[in-house]
Symmetry: C2
Subunit: 251 residues, 2 copies
């Protein structure tokens, strides 16, 4: 029995998120189905980031156990032949048998992309959030900087979350503009439910002048979801990739 | 009666190209229908670039005549309310009554985008052409440079074209790489049917080592479609924008 890791890219538009659900197709359910068919075993993947409905990915990770004799590196090619066009495996390789992608030290990077211009662009409508009113990136950056470090992010956690502990560590959070495209890039050791989207929604309010950048520190200190801005729409969010510290040490 | 110009962006995936056809929805047919409904007149637009099925645009241009009292600049907002999400007008303004977007001096810019990596990325699948084998951008650039100037581009014209004159002027043609994304950017005073896609298909062969860059000059001189490479797939092509020399002089 081997444990295999897959690096998985997807466009989330047509999925009910990562995690298997009673109603609706998910990334996880498609992977389970196609891996089981490919390998002739009952396969159940375990994902690193259980992204929401509509969220995209360039490099989410998942592991599964298999008895296959297909070399691990070849699995990505074989699986991609079976996957729909909106899911594509980027790499496959063996990991230690006790490796769990959520119970380990990792750095996850997300990007929230905002198309900030007068009119929407059809080719970018699925993976950027169109926002008409001018946004001040400098102010957004100033507010974003407050989030870096180990903090209780309760204010930036969905009230539907059952997380017992809302302390998380953010390694970096920056806001940059290239032409009409504003990118909020955040790297952290795990995120709370809706955390990146609530941070994005709050930064958009800061950028639009609804809140001063200084308020970010107060929102964080208040530990109350009602203090932060709205949850920004899912389709602007992309899971960019994950670095697993344990895997790097062992390799 | 006023002549109005629209700058139109679209994702071409779900359309049979720009031009009205007997079977299939086109960008032009959607604009005609929605403008007619909005203005209560029978409207027929005239496009600058009659893009192929599947080709995208950030800034194609079209003109139409109307008696409306809606201020020209407001038309873009009103029309966008009625357009589907894959078509969005970027600007609307009045032009001289005798202005014809194809019978005038203009510079049109197209980009052909190639995703050159081991595995496809789902979020880029609709507007980049995925190409697995390594491409040498320096060689592609060398070949592209041969095309700049006024030449007979018969070798780069679809055999289904009825153009009596195949001489065209190319102002610039460059190939650049940013990470996995290779962009062929070409600006010219009008293009023949499939010209940019045949140039892209030929440059991909040069980049892949199938042809040496020096062959480009011979292909051009041969004036024979059979000498050039294949027509690259439509979905990699985007009409980026048009500069109208006459309009700039008059404004």
């Amino acid at each position: 029995m081997k444990r295999i890791m897959l690096i998985v890219a997807y466009e989330g538009t047509n999925y009910k998120g990562w995690q298997v659900q009673a109603n609706g197709i998910t990334i996880e359910s498609v992977l389970n189905e196609q891996l089981s068919k490919l390998l002739g075993e009952e396969i159940t993947v375990t994902g690193a980031s259980r992204t929401d409905s509509g969220v995209h990915s360039l490099g989410n990770a998942a592991v599964f156990d298999t008895n296959t004799r297909i070399p691990p590196e070849k699995l990505s090619y074989a699986l991609n032949q079976r996957l729909p066009a909106d899911i594509a495996v980027q790499a496959s390789f063996e990991v230690p048998g006790d490796f769990h992608p959520r119970k380990c030290n990792s750095r996850k990077t997300y990007e929230y992309r905002i198309l900030n211009r007068r009119f929407p662009l059809p080719t970018l409508r699925r993976d950027t959030y169109f926002y008409y009113y001018p946004l001040d990136v400098e102010k957004m950056n100033q507010a974003a900087a407050c989030l870096v470090g180990t903090h209780d992010f309760k204010s930036f956690c969905s009230i539907h979350s059952q997380a017992p502990d809302t302390v998380r560590r953010v390694y970096s959070c920056t806001v940059t503009r290239e032409g009409d495209l504003i990118t909020i890039r955040i790297t952290g050791a795990g995120f709370l439910y809706n955390m990146v989207r609530i941070i994005a929604g709050t930064l958009i309010e800061v950028g639009g002048g609804v809140r001063p950048p200084e308020e970010m520190a107060q929102i964080l200190a208040g530990r109350d979801r009602a203090l932060a801005g709205p949850t920004a729409p899912a389709h602007g969010l992309t899971m960019m990739g994950i670095e697993f510290e344990d895997l790097q040490k062992r390799n």
